[in-house]
Protein backbone atom coordinates (compact mmCIF):
# COMPACT_ATOMS: atom_id res chain seq x y z
CA UNK A 1 0.00 0.00 0.00
CA UNK A 2 1.23 3.40 -0.90
CA UNK A 3 1.75 6.01 1.79
CA UNK A 4 0.55 9.51 2.06
CA UNK A 5 1.24 12.27 4.51
CA UNK A 6 -0.44 15.39 5.67
CA UNK A 7 0.65 18.17 7.98
CA UNK A 8 -1.01 18.17 11.37
CA UNK A 9 -1.44 21.36 13.33
CA UNK A 10 0.85 21.19 16.40
CA UNK A 11 -1.81 23.17 18.31
CA UNK A 12 -5.05 21.29 17.57
CA UNK A 13 -4.17 18.36 15.34
CA UNK A 14 -6.19 19.64 12.34
CA UNK A 15 -4.76 19.31 8.83
CA UNK A 16 -2.76 22.34 7.77
CA UNK A 17 -3.08 24.08 4.39
CA UNK A 18 -0.70 26.35 2.52
CA UNK A 19 -2.15 29.87 2.58
CA UNK A 20 -1.27 31.89 -0.54
CA UNK A 21 -2.02 35.26 1.07
CA UNK A 22 0.47 34.89 3.90
CA UNK A 23 2.72 32.35 2.13
CA UNK A 24 2.59 30.30 5.34
CA UNK A 25 0.99 27.10 6.58
CA UNK A 26 -2.34 27.82 8.20
CA UNK A 27 -4.65 25.66 10.28
CA UNK A 28 -8.23 26.10 9.00
CA UNK A 29 -9.57 24.92 12.35
CA UNK A 30 -7.74 27.01 14.95
CA UNK A 31 -6.23 29.66 12.62
CA UNK A 32 -2.72 28.95 13.87
CA UNK A 33 -0.07 30.04 11.36
CA UNK A 34 3.27 28.31 10.88
CA UNK A 35 6.27 29.14 8.79
CA UNK A 36 6.87 26.48 6.13
CA UNK A 37 10.53 25.98 7.03
CA UNK A 38 9.85 26.02 10.79
CA UNK A 39 7.31 23.25 10.31
CA UNK A 40 9.76 21.20 8.32
CA UNK A 41 12.39 21.60 11.06
CA UNK A 42 9.88 20.66 13.72
CA UNK A 43 8.97 17.52 11.80
CA UNK A 44 12.62 16.66 11.40
CA UNK A 45 13.25 17.13 15.10
CA UNK A 46 10.26 14.97 15.95
CA UNK A 47 11.54 12.23 13.69
CA UNK A 48 14.94 12.30 15.33
CA UNK A 49 13.43 12.23 18.81
CA UNK A 50 11.26 9.29 17.92
CA UNK A 51 14.22 7.45 16.43
CA UNK A 52 16.30 8.19 19.54
CA UNK A 53 13.57 6.80 21.76
CA UNK A 54 13.65 3.60 19.77
CA UNK A 55 10.07 3.95 18.68
CA UNK A 56 8.86 3.11 15.25
CA UNK A 57 8.42 6.35 13.38
CA UNK A 58 4.70 6.84 12.99
CA UNK A 59 4.92 9.02 9.93
CA UNK A 60 7.16 8.42 6.99
CA UNK A 61 7.74 12.14 6.84
CA UNK A 62 10.63 12.86 4.50
CA UNK A 63 12.12 9.55 3.70
CA UNK A 64 11.78 9.62 -0.07
CA UNK A 65 14.52 7.20 -1.03
CA UNK A 66 12.79 3.93 -1.87
CA UNK A 67 9.39 5.23 -2.69
CA UNK A 68 9.82 4.95 -6.45
CA UNK A 69 9.31 1.23 -6.06
CA UNK A 70 5.85 1.62 -4.56
CA UNK A 71 3.50 -1.10 -5.57
CA UNK A 72 1.47 0.13 -8.52
CA UNK A 73 -1.34 -1.97 -9.72
CA UNK A 74 -1.83 -2.82 -13.38
CA UNK A 75 -3.70 0.18 -14.65
CA UNK A 76 -1.44 2.70 -12.96
CA UNK A 77 -3.82 3.44 -10.10
CA UNK A 78 -2.75 3.25 -6.47
CA UNK A 79 -4.60 3.20 -3.19
CA UNK A 80 -3.71 5.41 -0.28
CA UNK A 81 -5.16 5.50 3.21
CA UNK A 82 -6.36 8.86 4.46
CA UNK A 83 -4.52 9.84 7.62
CA UNK A 84 -7.53 11.68 8.88
CA UNK A 85 -10.48 9.33 8.45
CA UNK A 86 -8.94 6.07 7.28
CA UNK A 87 -10.80 6.13 3.98
CA UNK A 88 -9.08 4.73 0.91
CA UNK A 89 -8.04 7.22 -1.75
CA UNK A 90 -7.55 5.96 -5.29
CA UNK A 91 -5.22 8.12 -7.35
CA UNK A 92 -3.52 7.70 -10.70
CA UNK A 93 0.21 7.35 -10.91
CA UNK A 94 0.85 11.05 -11.56
CA UNK A 95 -1.15 12.50 -8.68
CA UNK A 96 1.13 13.95 -6.04
CA UNK A 97 -1.33 15.86 -3.89
CA UNK A 98 -5.08 15.54 -3.60
CA UNK A 99 -8.03 15.74 -1.24
CA UNK A 100 -9.72 12.79 0.48
CA UNK A 101 -13.15 12.23 -1.18
CA UNK A 102 -14.65 11.19 2.17
CA UNK A 103 -13.50 13.84 4.62
CA UNK A 104 -12.01 16.51 2.32
CA UNK A 105 -8.70 16.22 4.11
CA UNK A 106 -5.84 17.57 2.04
CA UNK A 107 -3.08 15.09 1.61
CA UNK A 108 0.24 14.81 -0.16
CA UNK A 109 0.96 11.40 -1.61
CA UNK A 110 4.46 10.57 -0.55
CA UNK A 111 6.84 9.02 -3.01
CA UNK A 112 5.39 10.77 -6.00
CA UNK A 113 7.81 13.66 -5.80
CA UNK A 114 10.82 11.94 -4.34
CA UNK A 115 14.21 10.87 -5.68
CA UNK A 116 14.79 11.94 -9.28
CA UNK A 117 11.13 12.91 -9.37
CA UNK A 118 11.57 15.51 -6.66
CA UNK A 119 11.15 19.03 -8.06
CA UNK A 120 14.03 21.47 -7.64
CA UNK A 121 11.79 24.49 -7.23
CA UNK A 122 8.25 25.54 -6.60
CA UNK A 123 6.50 28.86 -7.14
CA UNK A 124 3.96 28.93 -4.29
CA UNK A 125 0.42 30.03 -5.11
CA UNK A 126 0.11 33.81 -4.82
CA UNK A 127 -3.62 33.95 -5.55
CA UNK A 128 -6.32 32.02 -3.74
CA UNK A 129 -9.48 30.29 -4.89
CA UNK A 130 -11.72 33.31 -4.22
CA UNK A 131 -9.51 35.45 -6.47
CA UNK A 132 -9.53 32.75 -9.16
CA UNK A 133 -13.33 32.58 -9.07
CA UNK A 134 -13.52 36.36 -9.27
CA UNK A 135 -11.22 36.36 -12.32
CA UNK A 136 -13.31 33.73 -14.06
CA UNK A 137 -16.52 35.70 -13.44
CA UNK A 138 -14.84 38.83 -14.76
CA UNK A 139 -13.52 36.92 -17.77
CA UNK A 140 -16.90 35.56 -18.84
CA UNK A 141 -18.81 38.72 -17.94
CA UNK A 142 -16.64 40.76 -20.31
CA UNK A 143 -17.35 38.39 -23.19
CA UNK A 144 -20.84 39.19 -24.34
CA UNK A 145 -20.84 36.70 -27.21
CA UNK A 146 -20.58 33.67 -24.95
CA UNK A 147 -23.94 31.89 -24.52
CA UNK A 148 -25.73 32.93 -21.34
CA UNK A 149 -26.43 29.31 -20.46
CA UNK A 150 -22.69 28.59 -20.56
CA UNK A 151 -22.02 31.36 -18.06
CA UNK A 152 -24.87 30.21 -15.81
CA UNK A 153 -23.82 26.58 -15.87
CA UNK A 154 -20.22 27.25 -14.94
CA UNK A 155 -19.44 25.37 -11.76
CA UNK A 156 -17.21 27.91 -10.13
CA UNK A 157 -16.70 25.72 -7.07
CA UNK A 158 -14.92 23.13 -9.16
CA UNK A 159 -12.02 25.44 -9.89
CA UNK A 160 -8.92 23.64 -8.68
CA UNK A 161 -5.47 24.79 -7.72
CA UNK A 162 -2.89 22.53 -9.32
CA UNK A 163 0.87 22.53 -9.14
CA UNK A 164 1.81 21.72 -12.72
CA UNK A 165 5.21 20.13 -13.41
CA UNK A 166 7.41 22.16 -15.74
CA UNK A 167 10.87 21.58 -17.13
CA UNK A 168 12.86 24.79 -17.04
CA UNK A 169 15.68 25.32 -19.49
CA UNK A 170 18.56 27.73 -19.02
CA UNK A 171 20.72 28.21 -22.06
CA UNK A 172 23.50 30.28 -23.53
CA UNK A 173 23.32 30.30 -27.29
CA UNK A 174 25.17 31.58 -30.28
CA UNK A 175 22.88 32.47 -33.18
CA UNK A 176 23.45 33.68 -36.72
CA UNK A 177 20.62 34.81 -38.95
CA UNK A 178 20.47 35.98 -42.56
CA UNK A 179 17.67 38.32 -43.52
CA UNK A 180 16.56 39.90 -46.76
CA UNK A 181 15.66 43.55 -46.34
CA UNK A 182 14.05 46.00 -48.73
CA UNK A 183 13.99 49.75 -48.95
CA UNK A 184 11.41 51.50 -51.09
CA UNK A 185 11.62 54.94 -52.70
CA UNK A 186 8.84 56.49 -54.81
CA UNK A 187 8.68 59.57 -56.98
CA UNK A 188 6.70 60.80 -59.95
CA UNK A 189 6.98 62.87 -63.05
CA UNK A 190 4.18 64.15 -65.23
CA UNK A 191 3.43 60.73 -66.72
CA UNK A 192 4.53 57.99 -64.36
CA UNK A 193 4.69 57.01 -60.73
CA UNK A 194 8.02 55.25 -60.05
CA UNK A 195 8.70 52.72 -57.30
CA UNK A 196 12.28 51.69 -56.65
CA UNK A 197 12.83 48.65 -54.45
CA UNK A 198 16.37 48.02 -53.21
CA UNK A 199 17.28 44.59 -51.85
CA UNK A 200 19.83 44.02 -49.11
CA UNK A 201 21.53 40.92 -47.71
CA UNK A 202 21.58 41.40 -43.96
CA UNK A 203 23.49 39.27 -41.51
CA UNK A 204 23.54 39.29 -37.73
CA UNK A 205 25.26 36.99 -35.29
CA UNK A 206 25.37 37.19 -31.55
CA UNK A 207 25.23 35.50 -28.19
CA UNK A 208 22.35 35.61 -25.75
CA UNK A 209 21.10 33.84 -22.67
CA UNK A 210 17.71 32.55 -21.63
CA UNK A 211 16.69 31.61 -18.12
CA UNK A 212 13.92 29.26 -17.08
CA UNK A 213 12.07 28.70 -20.34
CA UNK A 214 9.19 26.53 -19.12
CA UNK A 215 7.97 23.45 -20.96
CA UNK A 216 4.85 21.72 -19.66
CA UNK A 217 5.79 18.33 -18.24
CA UNK A 218 2.27 17.03 -17.79
CA UNK A 219 0.21 15.38 -20.51
CA UNK A 220 -2.96 16.21 -18.56
CA UNK A 221 -2.42 19.93 -19.14
CA UNK A 222 -2.81 21.17 -22.71
CA UNK A 223 0.56 22.65 -23.74
CA UNK A 224 -0.98 25.60 -25.60
CA UNK A 225 -3.06 26.51 -22.54
CA UNK A 226 0.01 26.40 -20.31
CA UNK A 227 1.96 28.62 -22.71
CA UNK A 228 -0.98 31.04 -22.91
CA UNK A 229 -0.81 31.85 -19.19
CA UNK A 230 2.92 32.57 -19.32
CA UNK A 231 5.08 34.25 -18.25
CA UNK A 232 5.94 32.92 -14.83
CA UNK A 233 8.33 34.96 -12.73
CA UNK A 234 10.99 32.60 -11.51
CA UNK A 235 12.35 35.12 -9.01
CA UNK A 236 9.49 34.09 -6.71
CA UNK A 237 10.40 30.42 -6.88
CA UNK A 238 11.67 28.76 -3.71
CA UNK A 239 13.42 25.48 -3.03
CA UNK A 240 10.86 22.73 -3.17
CA UNK A 241 9.25 21.67 0.07
CA UNK A 242 6.36 19.24 0.19
CA UNK A 243 4.49 21.50 2.61
CA UNK A 244 3.69 23.96 -0.18
CA UNK A 245 1.47 21.35 -1.79
CA UNK A 246 -0.87 21.09 1.18
CA UNK A 247 -4.34 22.15 0.16
CA UNK A 248 -3.68 21.91 -3.58
CA UNK A 249 -3.52 19.23 -6.21
CA UNK A 250 -0.15 18.38 -7.65
CA UNK A 251 1.04 16.21 -10.50
CA UNK A 252 4.45 14.80 -11.17
CA UNK A 253 5.82 15.01 -14.67
CA UNK A 254 4.93 12.34 -17.21
CA UNK A 255 6.73 14.01 -20.11
CA UNK A 256 10.45 13.54 -19.64
CA UNK A 257 13.09 16.23 -19.85
CA UNK A 258 14.51 14.76 -23.08
CA UNK A 259 11.07 14.85 -24.72
CA UNK A 260 10.62 18.49 -23.67
CA UNK A 261 13.86 19.73 -25.23
CA UNK A 262 12.59 20.08 -28.84
CA UNK A 263 9.87 22.53 -27.74
CA UNK A 264 12.40 24.64 -25.81
CA UNK A 265 14.73 24.61 -28.83
CA UNK A 266 11.94 25.76 -31.10
CA UNK A 267 11.15 28.73 -28.89
CA UNK A 268 14.84 29.59 -28.46
CA UNK A 269 15.33 29.59 -32.24
CA UNK A 270 12.40 31.93 -32.84
CA UNK A 271 13.54 34.17 -29.99
CA UNK A 272 17.02 34.39 -31.48
CA UNK A 273 15.59 35.37 -34.87
CA UNK A 274 13.28 37.96 -33.30
CA UNK A 275 15.93 39.38 -30.97
CA UNK A 276 18.57 39.77 -33.67
CA UNK A 277 15.84 41.15 -35.95
CA UNK A 278 15.39 44.03 -33.50
CA UNK A 279 18.94 45.18 -34.31
CA UNK A 280 18.06 45.48 -38.02
CA UNK A 281 16.63 48.89 -38.64
CA UNK A 282 15.83 51.27 -41.47
CA UNK A 283 14.12 48.81 -43.80
CA UNK A 284 10.62 48.68 -45.20
CA UNK A 285 10.53 44.90 -44.77
CA UNK A 286 12.85 42.30 -43.25
CA UNK A 287 12.39 38.56 -43.77
CA UNK A 288 14.56 35.86 -42.17
CA UNK A 289 16.07 33.63 -44.85
CA UNK A 290 18.29 31.33 -42.83
CA UNK A 291 19.12 30.94 -39.19
CA UNK A 292 21.32 28.67 -37.14
CA UNK A 293 21.48 28.36 -33.38
CA UNK A 294 24.26 26.67 -31.42
CA UNK A 295 23.70 25.81 -27.81
CA UNK A 296 26.83 26.81 -25.90
CA UNK A 297 25.58 25.53 -22.58
CA UNK A 298 22.23 24.31 -21.34
CA UNK A 299 20.87 23.32 -17.95
CA UNK A 300 17.47 21.91 -17.14
CA UNK A 301 15.53 22.10 -13.88
CA UNK A 302 12.30 20.61 -12.66
CA UNK A 303 9.77 22.88 -10.99
CA UNK A 304 6.13 23.02 -9.98
CA UNK A 305 4.21 26.11 -11.10
CA UNK A 306 0.87 27.18 -9.63
CA UNK A 307 -2.17 27.05 -11.92
CA UNK A 308 -5.88 27.38 -11.23
CA UNK A 309 -7.86 25.11 -13.55
CA UNK A 310 -11.54 24.79 -14.38
CA UNK A 311 -12.85 22.08 -16.68
CA UNK A 312 -16.33 22.47 -18.10
CA UNK A 313 -18.45 20.60 -20.58
CA UNK A 314 -20.77 22.55 -22.82
CA UNK A 315 -22.83 20.83 -25.50
CA UNK A 316 -20.44 17.92 -25.69
CA UNK A 317 -17.32 20.08 -26.00
CA UNK A 318 -14.73 20.37 -23.29
CA UNK A 319 -13.62 23.84 -22.25
CA UNK A 320 -10.67 24.35 -19.96
CA UNK A 321 -9.80 27.63 -18.29
CA UNK A 322 -6.50 28.29 -16.64
CA UNK A 323 -5.24 31.08 -14.45
CA UNK A 324 -1.62 31.73 -13.70
CA UNK A 325 -1.58 31.23 -9.91
CA UNK A 326 1.24 33.74 -9.68
CA UNK A 327 0.33 36.62 -11.99
CA UNK A 328 -3.43 36.10 -12.27
CA UNK A 329 -3.35 35.94 -16.08
CA UNK A 330 -6.58 34.18 -17.07
CA UNK A 331 -7.04 32.36 -20.35
CA UNK A 332 -9.55 29.99 -21.86
CA UNK A 333 -11.45 29.39 -25.06
CA UNK A 334 -15.14 30.19 -24.89
CA UNK A 335 -18.05 28.98 -26.96
CA UNK A 336 -19.76 31.63 -29.07
CA UNK A 337 -23.52 32.05 -29.18
CA UNK A 338 -24.51 31.47 -32.83
CA UNK A 339 -27.50 33.81 -32.67
CA UNK A 340 -25.36 36.60 -31.21
CA UNK A 341 -22.62 36.22 -33.82
CA UNK A 342 -25.18 36.26 -36.65
CA UNK A 343 -26.67 39.41 -35.15
CA UNK A 344 -23.19 40.95 -35.05
CA UNK A 345 -22.57 40.00 -38.69
CA UNK A 346 -25.89 41.48 -39.79
CA UNK A 347 -25.46 44.61 -37.68
CA UNK A 348 -21.97 45.36 -38.93
CA UNK A 349 -22.95 44.57 -42.54
CA UNK A 350 -25.90 46.98 -42.40
CA UNK A 351 -23.85 49.67 -40.65
CA UNK A 352 -20.87 49.42 -42.99
CA UNK A 353 -23.16 49.22 -46.04
CA UNK A 354 -25.05 52.34 -44.96
CA UNK A 355 -21.79 54.22 -44.35
CA UNK A 356 -20.45 53.16 -47.75
CA UNK A 357 -23.75 54.27 -49.29
CA UNK A 358 -23.50 57.72 -47.72
CA UNK A 359 -19.89 58.08 -48.92
CA UNK A 360 -20.86 57.02 -52.46
CA UNK A 361 -23.70 59.52 -52.38
CA UNK A 362 -21.39 62.30 -51.21
CA UNK A 363 -18.94 61.42 -53.99
CA UNK A 364 -21.86 61.69 -56.41
CA UNK A 365 -21.56 58.11 -57.67
CA UNK A 366 -25.34 57.83 -57.75
Amino acid sequence: MAENLDYKCPACGGTLEFDSATQKMKCPFCDSVFDVSALQQKDAVLDTQQADMGEQPQEDSFNWSDSATQEWNDNGMSVFVCKSCGGEIVADENTAATACPYCGNNTVLSGRLSGVLKPDFVIPFQLNKAQAKEKLKEYTAKRAFAPKSFKDENHLEEIKGIYVPFWLFDSNIHASVQYEGTRVRTWRDSKYQYTETSYYDIYRQGDMSFNNIPVDGSTKMPDDLMESIEPFDFSQAVDFQTAYLAGYLADKYDVGMEESIPRANERIKHSAEDTLRSTVQGYASVMPRFSSVQLLSGVSKYALYPVWILNTDYKGEKYTFAMNGQSGKFVGNLPIDKAKIIALFAGVAVGAGALAGVICKLLGLF
Binding site: K191, Y192, S198, Y203, Q205, S271, A352, G353, F366
Partner: protein
Protein backbone atom coordinates in the same frame (compact mmCIF):
# COMPACT_ATOMS: atom_id res chain seq x y z
CA UNK B 1 -17.13 131.40 -47.31
CA UNK B 2 -15.89 128.73 -44.92
CA UNK B 3 -19.10 126.81 -45.48
CA UNK B 4 -18.57 126.89 -49.24
CA UNK B 5 -15.02 125.63 -48.77
CA UNK B 6 -16.10 122.72 -46.58
CA UNK B 7 -18.88 121.81 -49.02
CA UNK B 8 -16.42 121.77 -51.90
CA UNK B 9 -13.99 119.61 -49.85
CA UNK B 10 -16.79 117.14 -49.15
CA UNK B 11 -17.67 117.18 -52.86
CA UNK B 12 -14.05 116.49 -53.79
CA UNK B 13 -13.91 113.66 -51.28
CA UNK B 14 -17.02 112.07 -52.73
CA UNK B 15 -15.57 112.52 -56.21
CA UNK B 16 -12.32 110.89 -55.13
CA UNK B 17 -14.24 107.93 -53.72
CA UNK B 18 -15.89 107.46 -57.09
CA UNK B 19 -12.59 107.37 -58.94
CA UNK B 20 -11.90 103.61 -58.37
CA UNK B 21 -15.27 102.86 -59.90
CA UNK B 22 -14.34 104.84 -62.97
CA UNK B 23 -10.85 103.40 -62.95
CA UNK B 24 -12.07 99.98 -64.04
CA UNK B 25 -14.59 101.32 -66.46
CA UNK B 26 -12.59 100.52 -69.57
CA UNK B 27 -14.63 99.89 -72.69
CA UNK B 28 -16.26 96.49 -72.31
CA UNK B 29 -16.77 96.06 -76.03
CA UNK B 30 -13.78 96.70 -78.31
CA UNK B 31 -14.84 95.96 -81.88
CA UNK B 32 -11.59 96.35 -83.80
CA UNK B 33 -12.78 93.89 -86.44
CA UNK B 34 -15.91 95.99 -87.01
CA UNK B 35 -18.42 93.19 -86.68
CA UNK B 36 -21.08 95.21 -84.85
CA UNK B 37 -23.04 98.36 -85.54
CA UNK B 38 -22.67 101.24 -83.09
CA UNK B 39 -26.16 100.57 -81.77
CA UNK B 40 -25.47 96.86 -81.25
CA UNK B 41 -22.18 97.71 -79.57
CA UNK B 42 -23.97 100.06 -77.18
CA UNK B 43 -26.59 97.47 -76.24
CA UNK B 44 -24.03 94.74 -75.61
CA UNK B 45 -21.92 97.18 -73.59
CA UNK B 46 -24.94 97.99 -71.48
CA UNK B 47 -25.59 94.31 -70.76
CA UNK B 48 -21.95 93.55 -69.98
CA UNK B 49 -21.78 96.61 -67.73
CA UNK B 50 -24.77 95.41 -65.74
CA UNK B 51 -23.21 91.98 -65.27
CA UNK B 52 -19.80 93.46 -64.42
CA UNK B 53 -21.29 95.75 -61.77
CA UNK B 54 -23.32 92.97 -60.24
CA UNK B 55 -20.57 90.38 -59.97
CA UNK B 56 -17.50 92.61 -59.54
CA UNK B 57 -15.78 91.25 -62.62
CA UNK B 58 -14.95 92.80 -65.98
CA UNK B 59 -16.78 90.95 -68.74
CA UNK B 60 -15.14 92.09 -71.97
CA UNK B 61 -15.83 91.37 -75.63
CA UNK B 62 -12.94 92.11 -78.03
CA UNK B 63 -12.71 91.52 -81.76
CA UNK B 64 -9.48 91.86 -83.71
CA UNK B 65 -8.15 91.46 -87.20
CA UNK B 66 -4.64 90.62 -86.10
CA UNK B 67 -2.95 88.66 -83.33
CA UNK B 68 0.37 90.54 -83.72
CA UNK B 69 2.11 87.22 -84.28
CA UNK B 70 1.05 85.82 -80.91
CA UNK B 71 -1.04 82.76 -80.20
CA UNK B 72 -4.71 83.56 -79.68
CA UNK B 73 -4.35 82.64 -76.02
CA UNK B 74 -1.37 84.92 -75.48
CA UNK B 75 -3.06 87.77 -77.35
CA UNK B 76 -6.22 87.46 -75.22
CA UNK B 77 -4.26 87.25 -71.97
CA UNK B 78 -2.05 90.20 -72.88
CA UNK B 79 -5.00 92.30 -74.03
CA UNK B 80 -6.63 91.72 -70.65
CA UNK B 81 -3.47 92.45 -68.67
CA UNK B 82 -2.13 95.37 -70.71
CA UNK B 83 -5.38 97.31 -70.88
CA UNK B 84 -5.98 97.23 -67.15
CA UNK B 85 -8.98 94.97 -67.13
CA UNK B 86 -10.02 93.11 -64.03
CA UNK B 87 -11.55 94.19 -60.73
CA UNK B 88 -9.96 93.52 -57.38
CA UNK B 89 -6.50 93.28 -55.95
CA UNK B 90 -3.46 93.60 -58.18
CA UNK B 91 -2.38 90.20 -59.46
CA UNK B 92 -5.78 88.72 -58.77
CA UNK B 93 -7.93 90.84 -61.01
CA UNK B 94 -11.25 89.23 -61.75
CA UNK B 95 -12.59 89.25 -65.24
CA UNK B 96 -13.47 87.30 -68.40
CA UNK B 97 -12.46 88.33 -71.90
CA UNK B 98 -13.96 86.84 -75.07
CA UNK B 99 -11.62 87.44 -78.01
CA UNK B 100 -12.90 87.04 -81.59
CA UNK B 101 -10.18 86.89 -84.19
CA UNK B 102 -11.51 87.58 -87.66
CA UNK B 103 -8.79 87.97 -90.29
CA UNK B 104 -11.32 88.32 -93.10
CA UNK B 105 -11.26 84.68 -94.13
CA UNK B 106 -14.27 82.44 -93.54
CA UNK B 107 -12.92 80.92 -90.36
CA UNK B 108 -12.99 83.02 -87.20
CA UNK B 109 -11.19 81.85 -84.08
CA UNK B 110 -12.40 82.51 -80.60
CA UNK B 111 -10.81 82.41 -77.19
CA UNK B 112 -12.04 83.07 -73.67
CA UNK B 113 -9.41 84.28 -71.23
CA UNK B 114 -10.23 84.32 -67.52
CA UNK B 115 -8.55 85.88 -64.51
CA UNK B 116 -9.13 85.97 -60.74
CA UNK B 117 -12.66 84.92 -59.81
CA UNK B 118 -13.33 84.48 -63.53
CA UNK B 119 -11.15 81.37 -63.48
CA UNK B 120 -13.40 79.76 -60.89
CA UNK B 121 -16.62 80.78 -62.64
CA UNK B 122 -15.49 79.64 -66.10
CA UNK B 123 -14.31 76.06 -65.74
CA UNK B 124 -12.77 74.18 -68.65
CA UNK B 125 -16.04 72.39 -69.13
CA UNK B 126 -18.04 75.62 -68.81
CA UNK B 127 -15.91 77.32 -71.49
CA UNK B 128 -16.37 74.40 -73.89
CA UNK B 129 -20.13 74.41 -73.34
CA UNK B 130 -20.35 78.19 -73.79
CA UNK B 131 -18.04 77.91 -76.80
CA UNK B 132 -20.36 75.51 -78.59
CA UNK B 133 -23.32 77.88 -78.34
CA UNK B 134 -21.32 81.00 -79.18
CA UNK B 135 -19.59 79.29 -82.12
CA UNK B 136 -22.94 78.25 -83.56
CA UNK B 137 -24.12 81.89 -83.68
CA UNK B 138 -20.78 83.33 -84.79
CA UNK B 139 -20.43 80.83 -87.62
CA UNK B 140 -23.76 82.14 -88.91
CA UNK B 141 -22.47 85.71 -88.66
CA UNK B 142 -24.90 86.52 -85.86
CA UNK B 143 -22.41 88.69 -84.01
CA UNK B 144 -24.94 90.75 -82.09
CA UNK B 145 -26.82 87.68 -80.82
CA UNK B 146 -23.49 86.11 -79.87
CA UNK B 147 -22.56 89.24 -77.90
CA UNK B 148 -25.87 89.21 -76.00
CA UNK B 149 -25.50 85.46 -75.37
CA UNK B 150 -21.99 86.08 -74.01
CA UNK B 151 -23.41 88.59 -71.54
CA UNK B 152 -26.10 86.05 -70.53
CA UNK B 153 -23.51 83.35 -70.07
CA UNK B 154 -21.34 85.67 -67.96
CA UNK B 155 -24.26 86.38 -65.64
CA UNK B 156 -25.27 82.74 -65.43
CA UNK B 157 -21.75 81.44 -64.75
CA UNK B 158 -20.92 84.19 -62.26
CA UNK B 159 -24.16 83.58 -60.39
CA UNK B 160 -23.50 79.83 -60.27
CA UNK B 161 -19.98 80.46 -58.96
CA UNK B 162 -21.30 82.87 -56.37
CA UNK B 163 -23.75 80.17 -55.21
CA UNK B 164 -20.81 77.84 -54.73
CA UNK B 165 -21.65 75.54 -57.66
CA UNK B 166 -19.70 76.68 -60.73
CA UNK B 167 -20.92 75.27 -64.04
CA UNK B 168 -18.71 72.21 -64.29
CA UNK B 169 -18.53 68.75 -65.71
CA UNK B 170 -21.40 66.70 -64.32
CA UNK B 171 -20.06 63.87 -62.19
CA UNK B 172 -20.48 60.51 -63.80
CA UNK B 173 -23.12 58.37 -62.20
CA UNK B 174 -21.75 54.95 -61.34
CA UNK B 175 -24.66 53.10 -59.81
CA UNK B 176 -23.30 49.61 -60.48
CA UNK B 177 -19.96 50.57 -58.95
CA UNK B 178 -21.74 52.01 -55.92
CA UNK B 179 -23.68 48.81 -55.35
CA UNK B 180 -20.51 46.74 -55.58
CA UNK B 181 -18.71 49.10 -53.19
CA UNK B 182 -21.56 49.00 -50.68
CA UNK B 183 -21.87 45.20 -50.73
CA UNK B 184 -18.11 44.72 -50.55
CA UNK B 185 -17.79 47.17 -47.65
CA UNK B 186 -20.65 45.47 -45.79
CA UNK B 187 -19.26 41.96 -46.25
CA UNK B 188 -15.63 42.83 -45.55
CA UNK B 189 -16.47 44.74 -42.37
CA UNK B 190 -18.88 42.06 -41.15
CA UNK B 191 -16.40 39.21 -41.76
CA UNK B 192 -13.68 41.28 -40.13
CA UNK B 193 -15.82 41.95 -37.05
CA UNK B 194 -16.79 38.28 -36.74
CA UNK B 195 -13.23 37.05 -37.14
CA UNK B 196 -11.98 39.56 -34.55
CA UNK B 197 -14.62 38.35 -32.08
CA UNK B 198 -13.88 34.69 -32.87
CA UNK B 199 -10.18 35.34 -32.29
CA UNK B 200 -10.93 36.91 -28.92
CA UNK B 201 -12.86 33.83 -27.89
CA UNK B 202 -10.00 31.53 -28.86
CA UNK B 203 -7.07 33.10 -27.03
CA UNK B 204 -5.37 29.80 -26.23
CA UNK B 205 -2.38 29.39 -28.49
CA UNK B 206 1.28 28.44 -28.43
CA UNK B 207 3.85 31.13 -27.83
CA UNK B 208 6.14 31.42 -30.81
CA UNK B 209 9.17 32.60 -28.88
CA UNK B 210 10.59 32.80 -25.40
CA UNK B 211 11.68 36.43 -25.29
CA UNK B 212 9.99 36.74 -21.88
CA UNK B 213 12.85 34.65 -20.55
CA UNK B 214 15.69 36.40 -22.38
CA UNK B 215 18.19 37.53 -19.78
CA UNK B 216 18.20 41.34 -19.88
CA UNK B 217 21.37 42.74 -21.42
CA UNK B 218 22.65 39.30 -22.41
CA UNK B 219 22.46 40.02 -26.14
CA UNK B 220 25.93 40.53 -27.52
CA UNK B 221 26.02 41.13 -31.27
CA UNK B 222 29.32 39.72 -32.50
CA UNK B 223 28.93 40.19 -36.23
CA UNK B 224 26.78 42.22 -38.59
CA UNK B 225 26.67 43.43 -42.16
CA UNK B 226 24.09 45.03 -44.44
CA UNK B 227 25.05 44.53 -48.08
CA UNK B 228 23.21 46.14 -50.96
CA UNK B 229 22.39 43.49 -53.53
CA UNK B 230 20.17 44.82 -56.29
CA UNK B 231 17.48 47.29 -57.14
CA UNK B 232 14.42 47.24 -59.32
CA UNK B 233 12.25 50.08 -60.57
CA UNK B 234 8.65 49.77 -61.63
CA UNK B 235 6.58 52.55 -63.11
CA UNK B 236 2.86 52.95 -63.39
CA UNK B 237 1.18 55.54 -65.61
CA UNK B 238 -0.50 58.35 -63.73
CA UNK B 239 -4.21 58.53 -64.52
CA UNK B 240 -4.91 61.59 -66.64
CA UNK B 241 -7.20 64.04 -64.93
CA UNK B 242 -9.48 64.49 -67.96
CA UNK B 243 -12.31 62.97 -66.02
CA UNK B 244 -12.01 65.62 -63.36
CA UNK B 245 -13.71 68.96 -63.50
CA UNK B 246 -12.35 72.34 -62.52
CA UNK B 247 -10.30 74.96 -64.32
CA UNK B 248 -6.79 74.57 -65.69
CA UNK B 249 -4.55 77.62 -65.57
CA UNK B 250 -1.40 78.98 -67.16
CA UNK B 251 0.77 82.05 -66.73
CA UNK B 252 0.62 84.93 -69.18
CA UNK B 253 3.61 86.92 -70.48
CA UNK B 254 3.08 89.48 -67.73
CA UNK B 255 3.36 86.76 -65.11
CA UNK B 256 -0.28 86.67 -64.16
CA UNK B 257 -2.37 83.56 -63.84
CA UNK B 258 -5.06 83.02 -66.45
CA UNK B 259 -7.55 80.34 -67.24
CA UNK B 260 -9.36 79.93 -70.50
CA UNK B 261 -9.88 77.97 -73.66
CA UNK B 262 -10.28 78.35 -77.41
CA UNK B 263 -13.16 77.20 -79.56
Amino acid sequence: MKKLLSISIVFLLILSLMIPAFASSKPLVVDNAELLSAQEEARITQRLQQASDKYNMDFVLVSTKTLDGKSIEAYADDYFDNNGYGIGRKGDRSGVLLLVYDDGTNQTRRHISTSGDGIKAFTDYGIQEAGKKLAALMDDGKWYEAGILFADICEKYAQAAEDGNPIDKPKEKKVALSIIVIIAAALVCAFLAVSVVKGKYKPVRFKSNATDYLVGGSLNVTGAYDNFRTTSVTRTPIQSNSSRGGSSTHTSSSGRTHGGGSF
